[in-house]
């Protein structure tokens, strides 16, 4: 029903989210090759058939390894100290990975971008866990995130993190609150376009993630915003 290519109120329809997600995943794959790609997980429910009218789902980026060190280290580019080896690949070729020693312990992170039908915006869910699967508490996660992001977290009223149940997986995840998303998306639109508050759908998630990702220490290359 909604064939508009832009949104002016900072919010997305479920179809728009689907379009924006694919655009985001494609750009990420091209410009952000130090990370594995995002995958689209369709909502094929065990108990319900998914409506064939629209494909609903969420974006998933999983098993990102962060090597946490005991010392407060600030990496050069101030993004996560991500190991280039990733469990997603079958290869056993090691790149510049640091073997977990006494000094650093591998923490794994999963990120899901889920559509909120109530707020009509994307919502970031994330969780961290050790190699044994034990979940990481929020204060441990905060230590893995670069210090500048932590202050962003604490000071901003936009970035409210709570532990809530994942909308589809029946497990506790951390969630970044969606309240106010449409307001700052509109702010981003105003500054990037001369024709008012229009945000092209294909750029929605890229713009959204350029802000939200920083809270969890994930930066995106500027090229993605073109």
């Amino acid at each position: 029903m909604d064939s508009a290519r832009e949104v002016s109120d900072g919010r997305l329809t479920v179809e728009g989210f689907s379009v924006a997600s694919r655009a985001f995943a494609d750009k990420w794959k091209i410009h952000n090759q130090s990370f594995p790609p995002w995958s689209w997980v369709p909502l094929i429910n065990r108990t319900l058939l998914v409506s064939k009218k629209q494909e609903e789902g969420y974006l998933s980026l999983e098993k990102i390894i962060i090597l946490s060190s005991l010392e407060e280290e600030i990496p050069e580019d101030e993004s996560l100290n991500v190991a280039t080896d990733c469990l997603e690949k079958e290869e056993t070729v090691d790149h510049t990975i640091l073997v977990p020693t006494m000094e650093n312990e591998a923490h794994y992170y999963d990120f899901h971008i889920v559509y909120s039908a109530s707020y009509k915006v994307p919502v970031l869910y994330f969780r961290g866990y050790c190699s044994g699967g034990e979940p990481l508490a929020l204060d441990v996660i905060k230590k893995d995130v670069p210090s500048c992001s932590v202050s962003l977290l604490l000071e901003s009223k936009w970035t409210f993190i709570t532990q809530e149940e994942h909308p589809y997986l029946n497990r506790p995840w951390f969630k970044l609150h969606p309240c106010g998303t449409e307001d700052w998306i509109k702010l981003l639109s105003q500054s990037s376009s001369s024709s008012g508050c229009q945000m092209p759908i294909v750029l929605y998630l890229v713009s959204w993630f350029s802000v939200v990702g920083q809270v969890v220490g994930l930066r995106i290359p500027l090229e993605m915003l073109n």
């Binding site: 429910n45 065990r46 108990t47 319900l48 058939l49 998914v50 409506s51 064939k52 009218k53 039908a117 109530s118 707020y119 979940p135 532990q163 809530e164 149940e165 909308p167 029946n170 497990r171 506790p172 309240c179």
Partner: protein
């Protein structure tokens, strides 16, 4: 008339028989179960002050982390008690036998609960979300004074409908016009729905939480419905219903549920004029490929699907303005 139904909803309660889990029993003999009347619109953790005195002498030393289970199945504490009962007990069990644990919180499955504060936070959060859905923003909840928010929460905790009725207008929550009463009486209630720039009334959005259990086989009696093993057997949809207003047609409960579960539409599909892209539904025996709604329970009532959805919303919603619907469906054959 509407007031009376709401009163019944607020007064609705479920008799619980709470057993202390055997691993938490440090006394001999083990204590008898506690009998508690749980408000339908309330939440299990709020009952802890009533239950704990029964068991405190039997507990091992240490800190409490309290949770409940039903036949080994951990209960999500942020779902209203009445909804849990309607969903998990196909054949209502009275009293409802639950087990309480004071140790060993399953934190890989349940989000943490720090007692009343967690429940209150969950309530206010749901209220904000409901308001966002209905009004398009949640500024009224956000702008409510601390003491008003406290008082509103207290009225819910205590089941005090009078206090709640006094306070809830401060939320300035949009309302849905009762479709049936507008037909019979000249005086219609205020309709407040989302309007576009031109001031035309558009569709209203109604906060709904749908809990669906899907059963694979046919059953005659509710007692034949198998037990729930895991929360993965239940589909939870936290999704607003788009309330469609059409000339001469009443938007029923069935319409609302089918809009959330389109795969269960049988011959009732409104797409008769449109081209079908799905081959399966062209089969002669159409019911094979689609599921069947067997049972719909709201506030413990098996609501007839033909009832106007507006009536259901206005009378059966919970205090946070969400309508919780438990549905039992027979899964389509595949």
């Amino acid at each position: 008339m509407a007031k009376e139904a709401v009163k019944y909803v607020w007064e609705g309660a479920i008799p619980l028989q709470i057993h202390l889990h055997k691993s938490d029993v440090a006394s001999h003999p083990s204590p008898p179960p506690a009998l508690v009347l749980a408000p339908r619109i309330g939440y299990l953790p709020l009952l802890i002050p009533l239950i704990k005195p029964y068991f405190k002498d039997s507990l091992p030393p240490g800190e409490d982390s309290i949770w409940f289970d039903y036949k080994g199945f951990p209960l999500k504490w942020y779902i209203p008690t009445g909804v849990l009962f309607d969903l998990l007990c196909a054949e209502p069990e009275r009293p409802w036998n639950l087990t309480i644990h004071f140790r060993g919180y399953p934190s890989n499955i349940l989000i943490p609960c720090e007692g009343e504060d967690s429940v209150k936070w969950n309530f206010v959060n749901s209220l904000k979300e409901a308001q966002y859905i209905i009004n398009g923003n949640c500024k009224n909840v956000m702008n409510m004074s601390q003491s008003d928010q406290e008082d509103l929460w207290t009225s819910v905790m205590n089941g005090d409908l009078d206090a709640y009725t006094r306070l809830s207008p401060k939320l300035k929550m949009g309302t849905v016009e009762d479709e049936f009463s507008s037909l019979s009486s000249p005086q219609t209630r205020q309709v407040v729905a989302e309007t576009d720039v031109a001031g035309q009334v558009k569709t209203a959005r109604i906060p709904v939480r749908l809990y669906v259990r899907s059963i694979n086989k046919d059953f005659e009696n509710l007692e034949d419905v198998p037990e729930v093993d895991t929360w993965d057997d239940i589909s939870y949809l936290n999704r607003p219903v788009e309330f469609l207003r059409e000339e001469g047609k009443c938007f029923t409960l069935r319409d609302a549920i089918e809009s959330l579960l389109p795969e269960f539409i049988g011959d009732r599909a409104q797409t008769s004029g449109e081209e079908r892209s799905m081959d399966e539904t062209e089969e002669a025996d159409g019911s094979r490929e689609t599921g069947e709604i067997k049972l719909v329970r709201i506030q413990g009532i098996e609501v007839k699907l033909e009832i106007p959805f507006s009536w259901v919303v206005n009378n059966l919603m919970n205090p946070e303005f969400y309508l919780h619907i438990s549905v039992l469906v027979k899964a389509p054959q595949r």
